[in-house]
Symmetry: C2
Subunit: 339 residues, 2 copies
């Protein structure tokens, strides 16, 4: 049985290119004592992957080595197990890698979590019920602590994290403004997700639009994009505003220096805070958060959308949709059939 694997061949300069990856077809390795063999079904394509490709910056996780299988979170099905905690037929989520099969121990990949099939689509464990949902839930509720009536602004608002942040903020009684690129995404977050307003950054002066939508300034800004949109938010802070720095996708492919927020000193008169968050910090609360979000989903208050593409061989091209903004919802790559 063959295992098509996508290895990191070189550290990308600017946008990742097909030539930064190397595909090899290996034999599927049989699991040793304590190991499992997993058939990968869905892989999560995330902005964080751009950082995992680099070794020149301090990060929360070591870089992927050159020649190693590209790191990816995924959902798979155990097909052989020499670990008594897992049985053939179990569905698991974990760092399965950009490949068709993963052979290894749960410990070696940083843990494999069993997920239950049948209740929700498996790919949803990579969106609302996975890292993006956990990031949104904890970044907003634990760190930004929204109060009813406050104004919450979100960049990357139709994305996997942003869409969940906005819906939870609505559940908590906030006024929610989403910033997204293009009419369709703006329509989606207002008409389907119930945001109060959307700002199309591709066709609007974001600073002016924020001033209009937030006449008293914004209380919470949840940032997924960095760059000029972060500066626009900084220009519109209410007193004691909380800025959650979750990511900066606009800057990840800069081959030169990052653009720092020119307006950062606005946090001084506003007595505002900027706080960096990393989802792993909240792992002890994942189960409770999942339960609460499942209830919101069942009540129709929290909607999910995955944008599923197919074929492990298409990883580099599909990944780029994150940076061009072409994806509609959580970007997922289907790499195997659940047969």
């Amino acid at each position: 049985m063959k295992n098509l694997q996508c290895q990191l061949a070189s550290r990308p300069v600017g946008e990742p290119k097909t030539s930064d990856f190397n595909y090899v077809e290996a034999e599927v390795r049989q699991p040793s004592e304590g190991e499992v063999l997993v058939k990968n079904l869905f892989l999560s394509l995330d902005p964080a992957m751009r950082g995992w490709m680099m070794d020149n910056k301090k990060s929360y996780i070591p870089p992927v080595g050159l020649g190693e299988v590209m790191r990816a979170l995924g959902i798979g099905k155990v097909i052989e197990s020499n670990d008594e905690k897992y049985a053939a037929g179990d569905y698991v989520s974990g760092l399965l890698g950009v490949q068709q099969y993963m052979t290894g121990s749960a410990k070696a990949v940083g843990g494999l979590t069993k997920v239950s099939a049948g209740q929700i689509p498996l790919e949803r464990y990579l969106s609302v019920m996975g890292m993006p949902g956990m990031t949104a839930y904890h970044g907003l509720l634990v760190e930004a602590k929204p109060q009813p009536g406050e104004t919450v602004v979100i960049s990357g608002a139709s994305g996997a994290v942003g869409a969940v942040v906005g819906q939870i903020a609505k559940i908590k009684g906030c006024k929610v403004i989403g910033i997204a690129g293009g009419e369709e995404k703006c329509r989606y977050i207002t008409e389907e997700l119930g945001f109060d307003a959307a700002i199309d950054y591709k066709n609007t002066n974001v600073t002016a639009a924020l001033r209009e939508h937030c006449p008293k300034g914004l209380d919470i800004y949840f940032d997924n994009v960095g760059g000029e949109i972060l500066d626009a938010a900084l220009a519109n802070l209410a007193m004691h505003a909380r800025i959650i720095v979750c990511g900066a996708i606009s800057q990840y492919n800069n081959s030169g220096e990052m653009n720092g927020p020119k307006n950062y000193l606005a946090i001084l008169p506003a007595r505002a805070t900027m706080r960096g968050i990393v989802v792993m910090d909240y792992v002890r609360n994942y189960a409770d958060a999942a339960m609460e979000m499942a209830q919101w989903m069942a009540a129709g208050k929290l909607k999910a959308r995955e944008d599923v593409y197919e074929g492990v061989e298409n990883y580099p091209d599909v990944l780029m949709k994150l940076f061009t903004g072409d994806n509609q919802g959580k970007l997922v790559l289907k790499v195997g059939e659940d047969d």
Copy 2:
């Protein structure tokens, strides 16, 4: 009786110049009902003054109008009073302005606080016992919450705020690294103030020096300067680092855009916070803070240094010492004799 007043004539572009001010010699106005006449003795020259000259940025206080007397905190002596709360001979601190005499009501200038002469030099009410001391005390203790054994890094470390931050951090059992410009300032903070180390930013690679002095990263960074030194600090954060944004003197005379911190995303893996502070927020605690700092001064644990120049007519030139780094300690302008 004549009153030499320094008015703001134009909003400076880049460094303030003599031509941005206009000196007029007015008659001293007699106090009306409820007003006092104060002879100004010492004026505080502060980085914040640069911001008060501008009307293009949101701030915590309105800008000085063109043709108005330049705003300044000062210490003066009441020489006539039509307000029963003050008597001739009282010493007061408040927004007395860059002039020789101030006629007005306490309310109109945002409050006049009586200070007691004789115990400490009057100019000290503009340094440790004034706004810079209050900024240092509350920014460090209330917002950054230093713990014994933590590493505290301070920029503008020999300045009016920085020197107090560092000494209080030492009192609280921290390792203290100061960043300052030139050998004399570095000698001062280590030999006279007891900092553990000094980094001369004019002759050292600050990023590398911080890496050496803070092998585990810095826990608290108290920033008075912004710019490249802020970026160097961001490159050396420990987990859960707290960055207090007190000012950015390196950027105040930029005629173009502010340089944003290119390394701001370092707060993400470090789960760090950047927080803007404004000293007025802690006004209810000023008296307690003053008492504690007076005790530290009496015990020899907290030292003050003022750099006193003379002559209200020299305001523009003396102010520039803040931006060139020429001052040694809190910059004060003596504008009248206590006779």
